[in-house]
Subunit: 419 residues, 2 copies
């Protein structure tokens, strides 16, 4: 399959983009190539597909089910009782809905941690986007569970060999308050031996930080360092409660960071994400939305806007995190976090890209497309999405979307009604 | 003209809504009435049109023209030199673009302060939405200008008698650092005698607050109180740098407040808007977007989301400003601020309302529509807009939108190119 996008705006110039197989093959004016599909780029701009660095896709089913509650009662009264009833079918439809929402808002790659991960794999395979998927690992410091995990992970890894090459298996270790030191250390060795990424929540709340000091005598990051599990394979999510020493440790060990501004704000986890300090230390920082139970959508342009506005606000500095940097975090930095040639429109990169509709009011006038995308538009400006060289959305329509909306709605109401 | 909306979701029930003239006449199931236009409400929910409590409509022309800069150099190098070149024609196309963007995101009423206000009037008359319009008043403490204003305001007021009844004339006094005490006092008397609203910026930045203490020996709000101009006709915008005494003074005098979270964040003006304290004091608090040069869009659902998330974040309280309150501020409270029966779908209210598309992913599942609207969706979920009993958008299409996009784009680039 080959695709030729004719005369599209790319970095302020009108050009053609030729996609062959799953790669961006050639970028240039008036390309004289034949292609299976030719798309007009008139009144459109090409941008990289977004990379959603952290989420729990199937939690779209809990969108709006519980909000504006204290964290503990929200989890105990709302989320956990429902999660206990989840079936593989529920996770499948929740993941389909998540993929649909992501595609509609221009995301071509996401990183996930949840239950029944094979149902999410099925959804992703069908929807045509790229994903890094893990089954959540929680042993609650129970030795039996810790042993079981050392059997489960290689089994999951084995299953993952059969996945479509758009989907990669990762290890999803929930957090330092739900996962034992033994599991961290074993997973670190397994990931290193098998070249796998590890994805975990860290330093999300002050409570987590305080408990870490109490239980381990160390900050969350310094505790991980003591365990010897900080490495370039590790992706740490949230990272709100960190000091200079923590940041330096992360940077020295090549750890990658994912910032989730919407979730952090809505759950009152913290708003002073130390972007400047992390950037200065040389850390690669991607952006994510977190799951829809907490934040409550999967719109990466909104994540970029929130990230930038927050930096300006709490630092009282309007020059903090300019639009270009927020956009970079939502795209190219994501590619670097996951070691993938995605998030950038460049010859030799994966053909993961979007066309945005320049005729919609929020993108007019077009003095600065990146500013318009980050500060003015939202995911709804995306018109066409190509992932892995294939069309996944054209003219704002995703094949089968009506069925997904209907079945995900049903799955959510049936789940809640079920005893 | 009459409109019948059949079987639409309204406050969790399916009902019909009958609009006659510019009013919501009847709400009920299976209404047996004939109407000039019948709309199916299938898969749609009816919500009030949003009320954008503060902005500078024509500044859409400066969207993305200057961002991520310190306030002073942004104004001096970017905004003021362009504003000095503005023509009536520019303001007309900028206002048309603003109206288009507002309609597309469900806003049916806005409050404006800018230059060449008659050009904005023309745009609003054509676009069919509701507006409170003022010409910006700035005398820079120059006696000659102060005198001229006392000639100008009655002249503008006279002109306004001929406006369409959707548009109301207000007094737009820029701020305490650009408007003299004499102009405040004279305008206050004029507004009282003629039953007009006054709209002003106040307590936006710490610099403004510090200068007020330095120049007047009082906080901005206490200075206004000393001038005797706090009244139920006064609408104060921003109100970030206020203490308990200020809040009590505003409440005691029935002053209305407009909060603009996106602008406050992006310009680093302040993020600790004292919503809870103001609510407790009994103040009516509406929401606004500010102009597109600062914030950079006119999406009131985004404003509602930001307002709520910010309260949760800086107070470290996830129960602060629930979705229902943020939605109330963006709708019904706006009606109260402007003394208009708008912002609520109720018999006898003005027919200013929207239908949202329940089949778009961000509104699925539909456990709680208000939560979905505030936390998950954005203005793009709006499908149909009725204002003053007339259709202004149907199936996401506004009549003449292509021409507006084209001419506003041209106006913006010509303006910047012009010497």
């Amino acid at each position: 399959m080959s695709i030729l996008i004719k005369e599209v705006l790319l970095n302020n110039e009108t050009t053609d983009i030729y996609i062959d197989g799953n790669q961006i093959k050639t970028i240039g004016k008036n390309l004289a190539v034949a292609a299976d599909k030719v798309i007009s780029g008139k009144n459109k701009a090409a941008i990289p597909g977004f990379i959603n660095g952290h989420g729990h896709a199937a939690m779209t089913l809990f969108r709006g089910f519980g909000d504006d509650m204290p964290l503990e009662s929200w989890l105990q009264e709302k989320i956990w009782p429902q999660e206990a009833k989840l079936t593989e079918e529920d996770v499948y439809w929740g993941s389909k809905l998540a993929c649909l929402e992501m595609i509609k808002s221009g995301t071509t790659c996401f990183n996930d941690m949840y239950w029944f991960f094979e149902a999410t794999v099925k959804a992703v395979e069908e929807m045509g986007i790229r994903a890094f998927l893990s089954q959540a690992v929680i042993d609650l410091f129970d030795e039996k569970k810790t042993k079981q995990i050392q059997i489960d992970i290689p089994k999951w890894h084995e299953i993952a060999q059969k996945w479509n090459n758009r989907i990669e298996f990762t290890l999803g270790l929930h957090s330092i308050y739900t996962v034992s030191a033994e599991t961290f250390k074993w997973s670190h060795e397994y990931a290193k031996a098998n070249n796998l990424l590890i994805h975990m929540h860290i330093a999300e709340t002050q409570t987590e930080y305080d408990n870490s000091i109490k239980n381990f005598g160390l900050s969350p990051v310094q505790y991980l360092n003591k365990l010897g599990v900080l490495s370039p394979n590790l992706i740490v999510v949230h990272c709100l409660w960190v000091d200079e020493t923590d940041i330096q440790l992360l940077a020295d060990n090549g750890v990658k960071v994912i910032h989730n501004p919407a979730s952090n704000l809505k759950l009152s986890s913290g708003y002073q994400f130390r972007y400047e300090e992390m950037k200065k230390a040389g850390l690669t920082i991607g952006l994510g939305t977190d799951g829809c139970a907490s934040s409550n959508n999967l719109d990466m342009l909104e994540a970029a806007k929130l990230a930038s506005l927050l930096q300006k606000a709490w630092r009282f500095d309007p020059t903090a995190m300019p639009a270009e940097e927020a956009f970079y975090c939502a795209t190219e930095a994501g590619g670097e976090v996951f070691n993938k040639k995605t998030g950038k429109i460049q010859e030799g990169y994966l053909a993961d890209l979007c066309l945005v509709d320049l005729k919609q009011p929020t993108l007019v006038p077009n003095f600065n497309l990146t500013s318009n995308l980050v500060y003015s538009a939202n995911g709804s400006c995306v018109d066409t999405v190509i992932c892995d060289g294939k069309m996944v959305m054209e003219n704002k329509y995703v094949s089968g979307e009506e069925e997904i909306i209907e079945n995900a709605s049903k799955a959510a109401s049936n789940l809640v009604a079920r005893t």
